[in-house]
């Protein structure tokens, strides 16, 4: 049995100290990483609670409940940031990605402590696959928010809708990687390929440049 709280303290302590010492933008980045890790820790508790409440077995919780809880928990720090600080678009995009990275890092560390560090290939697939999936979900949320930023109603409804889509994407990934063999390879490769495509598109088309999208053709 691994004590995730202890792992969390060990990982968070240096980041927290560094965040206290660093200047504004760097501090913000570290705080978002920490927020991602904290979300991951809290998601474990919340998923366990709902699994007990719905009397779901481990697999059902992993396939159906965990993605929903994790994506919502991952979004909460971002929601707080948006509601309290009202940041610009670029900051929102970066913060969503950083929270996702923090979440994926903590999840991978917990996986390492539970399953050992002996199988390099398996860990490579796990590390890149999970990392890519969380990053992809973070990117999807941030791209959605970037596009739907203009009006309040558009932002609110659109953000909820984007969040719903990321839950499903996460759930598909969880099911695919839970089966050993080719399924794990495909499940892990798909988010990596999609991230590659998104990077190519963003570099080529520069969709994040601070220029408003046109409202309509008409």
């Amino acid at each position: 049995m691994s004590y995730v709280e202890n792992i969390y303290i060990c990982l968070a302590a240096p980041l927290l100290l560094a965040a206290l010492m660093l200047k504004r933008d760097w501090k913000k980045a570290l705080i978002f990483l920490l927020a991602g890790m904290t979300s991951c820790l809290l998601s474990a508790y919340v998923t366990t609670f709902f699994a007990a409440l719905l009397r779901a077995d481990t697999l059902t919780a992993s396939y159906h409940l965990a993605p929903t809880v994790e994506e919502i928990m991952k979004f909460l720090p971002l929601l707080f940031y948006l509601a309290v600080f009202r940041p610009d678009r670029k900051s929102t995009v970066n913060s969503a990605v950083l929270v996702a990275v923090g979440f994926a890092t903590f999840e991978n560390v917990c996986y390492l402590t539970s399953n050992g560090t002996s199988e390099l290939v398996k860990l490579l697939i796990r590390g890149f696959g999970t990392g890519a999936m969380h990053l992809l979900c973070g990117m999807l949320v941030s791209v959605g928010m970037f596009l739907l930023w203009e009006h309040k109603w558009l932002r609110n409804v659109g953000t909820f809708a984007v969040l719903c889509s990321t839950v499903t994407l996460h759930a598909i990934f969880n099911i695919m990687v839970s089966e050993p063999g080719l399924s794990t390879w495909i499940g892990s490769a798909v988010p990596m390929v999609l991230i590659g495509c998104i990077l190519m598109i963003t570099v080529k088309k520069d969709i994040f440049k601070d220029k408003d999208l046109k409202e309509s053709d008409t």
Binding site: L147, I172, L213
Partner: protein
């Protein structure tokens, strides 16, 4: 067998539509095209999740909330698309507005005999919003008639939503053969509606594609 083929066809059409709308969105850098892409993506993810569950567990998901979330998202993106295109400028009369909102609520009450309560309430809310915008554009007598593009979009959305209702209703009577075919017909009609959203978003003659 027929169901598998139908699902496969829907997945292929959705994939193609998502790819086309993404390319179009990147080329034109316009919000409606992006929203259309997100609509396709969300619906596609819901479908893929359902099929993945069928493939790995040989049964439909035990807790269907995940795929439902994706389909809620798809309908919300469709709603946002209509609003962005100018659907917010059209309103129904008071009586028509009540009738349009009552339909999804009554249907949700009917479906609750078989399905989950919360999921049906959420669908009723989303469909209520969507129907009120669609009928506002198609049947309003405010004098502010929508552009041809908006009307085409709303007409496609109307057919799509009614086909969805036909599928849902007939799936409640799965044991009756005739109604099972109505389910397939409704689902097929929805599948065929997908490309028409892209066609509807193309600027009509006289409506400048800025």
């Amino acid at each position: 067998m027929f169901e598998t083929l139908e699902n496969l066809l829907q997945l292929i059409i959705l994939n193609v539509c998502a790819a086309v709308s993404l390319l179009s969105a990147l080329k034109r850098r316009k919000r409606p095209h992006m929203l259309l892409f997100f609509f396709y993506l969300s619906y596609l993810l819901g479908d893929i999740y359902w099929q993945v569950c069928l493939f790995y567990f040989e049964e439909t998901p035990r807790i269907s909330v995940v795929s439902d979330l994706s389909w809620y998202a798809a309908y919300l993106f469709l709603y946002l698309l209509i609003m962005t295109e100018g659907g917010d400028k059209h309103k129904n009369g008071r009586l028509a507005a009540c009738a349009v909102k009552a339909f999804p609520v009554l249907m949700a009450l009917f479906y609750m005999q078989w399905g989950e309560v919360l999921s049906n309430i959420i669908y009723a809310l989303i469909m209520g919003l969507l129907f009120s915008r669609i009928t506002g554009v198609l049947f309003s007598k405010t004098g502010k008639t929508g552009g041809r593009r908006l009307r085409r979009l709303c007409l496609t959305a109307m057919i799509f939503c009614l086909a969805e209702y036909a599928s849902w209703t007939s799936s409640c009577f799965w044991d009756v053969d005739a109604l099972r075919y109505t389910y397939y017909a409704g689902d097929l009609l929805m599948t065929l509606c997908f490309p028409f959203f892209i066609a509807a978003l193309k600027a009509a003659p006289g409506e400048a594609d800025a």
